[in-house]
Amino acid sequence: MGVLTRIDDLLRTAAPQVLGAVVRRYGDFDTCEDAVQEALLAAARQWPAEGVPDDPRAWLIRVAARRRVEMLRSETARRRREALPPDPVPEVRGDDELTLLLLCCHPALTPVSQVALTLRAVGGLTTAEIARALLVPERTVGQRISRAKQRIRDSGARFAMPPDDELGARLTAVRQVLYLIFNEGSTASSGARLHRVELSTEAIRLARQLHARLPDDGEVAGLLALMLLTDARRPARTAPDGALVPLAEQDRSRWDATAIAEGVEIITAALSSTRLGPFQLQAAIAAIHDEATRPELTDWPQILRLYDLLRILAPGPMVTLNRVVALAEVEGPLVALGQLATAAAEPALAGHHRVAAVRAHLLEMAGDLAAARDEYRLAARRTLSLPEQRYLEARAARLR
């Protein structure tokens, strides 16, 4: 590992700890966040040339605290002089990172703002890195972050752990934001994909930290396991030309066995010791797929049972559709087509391209190739995903 990567990792790990210490001491999240960001940039500039200081966190805290004072001075100079707090150096404390994460995922913020602020304040990414990762201009990300901080200020939210009766709901929001970041990693627009910070890797890193902090939270464990088990298939999911490779046709020897083993271990432990939740069920389904060394060894009856549970705990259009696919494997395509017809009438699924894609798949299984081809074409026209469009068109072409 090179010096630069080591410094980068060090800064990313230190970022939330330093910010947490500084905000806890001074309270003004908005200014502290800017000050820490500048301290991180200063470190990234100076450390490679001058060497890493003996206590990097203390260095960053000192620089951030100084920078904050400078910022406030230039602000108060404009208004009127104001006594600045004395300056004992704040210390890093264990629960700061979680407090910070909860603040960045505050319910007063929009999801896009939560994502941008979490990546910067907790993930320690620069605005430029976030902009590259999200494929939007740096100014756009800057605006999202400053709006988020303004919302936090306006809402009166404080840097403190929420009361116990709120913590559950607030953690739900945190898990959703981390999952959003993970999925953002695979939904870049069809333009350039070069130079992207790997957002799914970043989401896994943050989920891992959260899991270490809250080992008894079954849904955090489920989320981390789901990410690991999904990400493990990434090397096999796209062909060299960028085309999407469906699960049944993936070269399973290219799956990441280490990530699968870790994901399976985490989800197995969570299922046996904590309260069941949607992320755990999705992770369990992913684990069953990942443990099948050949597609025909997949335990579809078990997957169907898990989807039945998921439909009760967290119903949604995608759960309905995925369950229909599992049902086809267990009871055959005709039964599944019948249930798909009922599901397709729901408003959330009316006109959805994946209904057409699933219908095409089931018709192909049933041997009605002409009808399958038409449905694949319909799905290809309606999807917003380029790899999926190519996949569906290739599917249609194969049935000619």
Binding site: V112, P137, Q143, S190, R237, S385
Partner: protein
């Protein structure tokens, strides 16, 4: 989710432009500027540009490894792309709300097209 808001120039939009007073034309231009500023402040703007006249366009093709630029199109086209806003926002509804604030929407109409992304679905 990214969306492209397309503004076309066509006989209808030209007629609407001809019917405007100088003040109205000034206001029209200012409203465009203000809108891109507001999109930037809201953290949704990716890019926005107005395009030069199609008479300045160059058509490029490559045959046998040779680049062949040519002026054109030779036949007068009735409609061409005049400008665009590329925005990044969570929903189609939000994209439509931004499109409704493009000045051209009030005189003619603008088009909202989702951008394809690289997400993939396994089944």
């Amino acid at each position: 989710m990214k969306y492209l808001i397309l503004i076309q120039s066509n006989p209808r939009s030209l007629a609407a432009w001809e019917a405007m007073s100088d003040d109205e034309r000034m206001a029209f231009g200012r409203d465009h500027l203000r809108l891109s500023g507001e999109m930037a402040d809201a953290g949704v703007l990716v890019a926005s540009e107005g395009l030069a006249d199609p008479s300045l366009a160059t058509w490029v093709s490559v045959r046998d490894g040779r680049t062949i630029p040519s002026d054109g199109p030779y036949a007068e086209v009735k409609e061409h792309l005049a400008g665009f806003y590329l925005i990044d926002c969570p929903s189609r509804e939000e994209a439509i709300a931004w499109a409704a604030r493009v000045p051209d929407a009030a005189t003619t109409q603008v088009e909202v097209r989702p951008i394809l992304d690289m997400s993939g679905w396994e089944f």
